[in-house]
Homo-oligomer: 362 residues x 2
């Protein structure tokens, strides 16, 4: 399957459009570009659930500009839907529009519908090519793919550390370890997540807001606190405005009622040790249609999540400083052989201001 330079250019633009779909979750982020006689005549992206999908958005934009899409080529970052969801199937609209060709970056990961959109287009006489910039299209929807294929979110753990791997001083002196540039960058990752999870230790120590502030967004992620002994108090900032979710191992009905009356949810999910069952939390969040889960916690919860295999990637911001004895990133137990090491793969390395950002996958 060969693609030409116009194909690459159009799909690159479609991927940029997909990145605008920041509020599409639980639906995937999708972008669409329409090309006619080698000219881009329209583009579009998927809106909030219930709003238009990328294909419909692009078709409407073309019409609004007075363009006839007949005989054109449509570039879509994900296979178009072939079924009624919140909206009618996109394949139907594409077929009706008279377009000639569809180029798709990657097929729908949902095993119940994957390939069906393509089959409908082909049986309507539309030429279909697949696999253009597939990797990039997968990355944009890594959380949606994870949930569709594994039933659980893509779990990203953010950690800011010094070059000697320390995350905070023993006296919890509250200065930032990384730069303003890194902190702003980390809000972009918060914004693309469906939910942000932290532990009660971090809530008690730092009283974080767990929202997106450094960049503009119309969507604030769902806030989740892991709190085995239900020590949280309604005045912590993470509970401001209601709508947060607390996972606990201890059912304290009175306290639960107070939190529920304030619009929060309290879910009791204990393991055998009387702590929150972290794997069960991840499964529960998958059921709640969380595509990307962003973790910003302290070393204790981070260590537990890694040891229980709950994490898919580390998002590390490393500042070029040495702090000396202080809290480590993790407190993983010692191994007696390097065969027991936990293996990752560096996915991406980038300079962010004076710091380095590393994305490493398990």
């Amino acid at each position: 399957m060969f693609f030409d330079s116009i194909d690459f250019m159009a799909m690159t633009l479609a991927l940029q459009q997909a990145k605008l779909s920041i509020n599409s979750s639980p639906n995937p982020r999708v972008g669409c570009v329409i090309v006619k006689e080698k000219r881009i005549i329209s583009c579009g992206y998927t809106k909030s659930p219930g709003g238009n999908h990328a294909e419909i958005d692009a078709l409407l934009n073309a019409a609004a500009q007075g363009y006839d899409v007949y005989n054109s080529t449509v570039y879509i970052t994900l296979e178009p839907c072939s079924y009624f969801g919140y909206t009618p199937p996109c394949t139907e609209a594409l077929i009706k529009s008279g377009i000639k060709k569809v180029i798709i970056a990657i097929n729908d990961p949902n095993p119940l519908v994957s390939g069906k959109g393509v089959a409908q287009l082909i049986s309507a006489g539309i030429s279909v090519k697949q696999g253009l910039m597939q990797k990039e299209a997968y990355e944009i929807n890594i959380g949606f793919f994870s949930r569709m294929q594994r039933g659980i979110p893509w779990v990203r753990m953010k950690i800011a550390s010094s070059l000697d791997n320390k995350t905070s001083l023993y006296n919890n002196s509250s200065q930032w370890i990384t730069s303003k540039e890194s902190r702003n960058d980390s809000h972009i990752w918060r914004a693309r997540s469906c939910a942000i999870l932290t532990g009660i230790g971090t809530v008690l120590k730092d009283n974080p807001r767990l929202n997106v502030r450094s960049i503009k967004t119309s969507h604030q992620p769902y806030r989740i606190v892991i709190d085995s002994y239900l020590r949280i108090d309604p005045f912590f900032r993470v509970l401001k405005g209601g709508g947060s979710c607390i996972f606990t191992a201890t059912d304290l009905p009175m306290k639960r009622k107070i939190l529920e009356d304030l619009g929060h949810e309290v879910i009791v999910l204990p393991n055998n040790l009387g702590k929150v069952d972290l794997q069960a939390v991840i499964i529960e969040l998958g059921k709640r249609k969380i595509n990307e889960l962003h973790i910003e916690a302290g070393y204790q919860l981070n260590t537990a999540l890694i040891l229980e295999g709950c994490v898919d990637e580390l998002l590390l911001y490393i500042s070029p400083i040495l702090i000396g004895e202080a809290y480590n990133m993790f407190t993983l137990p010692p191994h007696y052989s390097l065969d027991k090491k936990i293996k990752l793969k560096f996915h991406e390395i980038q300079k962010i201001g004076p710091d380095i950002r590393i994305l490493a996958r398990f």
Copy 2:
């Protein structure tokens, strides 16, 4: 001062030539390219001490190819020497050759001669331009600049660690932490160094050879061991073949004699605490014309060197693995405020096989 694309091309080639000067130390690494009527007619680089400097090498290569350098432009990565050293002054040869113009990347850092080469050329009627690709030219001779300007070598500390900052297991299980690609890469850095320094702890534990093996080189760096209590034994591999240097705080005349008879040097440089005075070692190595000092030691010596301000840059190889509780890169004491942190700057980040290589400067 403006330079054109031919200038950049020629100086880039001259810098590549300079990198071939791997055996020039204690002299600087210098490359030279001669351009006549927009064509490169010759190039050269500085040979081992006593051999030709880059300018002479390039002039001789031109003559050997039957080229007349009259009216040509000569690109040199470092200001030509204007005095008798092991060899006659290069300025003299350049003036005699009838060249028209000289373009120099960076001036000689030696305050006693800096600018004098340029002045001689100008007074002989040769047009001189300076500052083309100055930064690159500085990097190639960072050790020579350090020794000329500060009297001490440029000190580079190499560390291989896991992503959680561990350098070896508590049981010293001897597997490698980083990949073969990283280990090969680190031998390129060993090869460009004048000397490699380690501590007795590493000698006792790993019995390293401290030589260059993974790449071809005609030059092996000087081997140095820091050994406060003179615990070393002639059968360790670092002493193979003679010519190593042991810094100690304890003069044991019998043991010293055995080592000296085997062709090693033992230097007694104690501090007030009965340990080797590390700053004095660095000064002594500067006197011995060490331009670049490469350190491969364990966490104890590494920590001491950093705390005593002896290190200019860290060369870190980070493997994408988590090891858990094990030996850390350093054991710096705790700080009680982040104002006390040790600041560095990321100079370069690169992927090496599955690992990351970071160059961070103090």
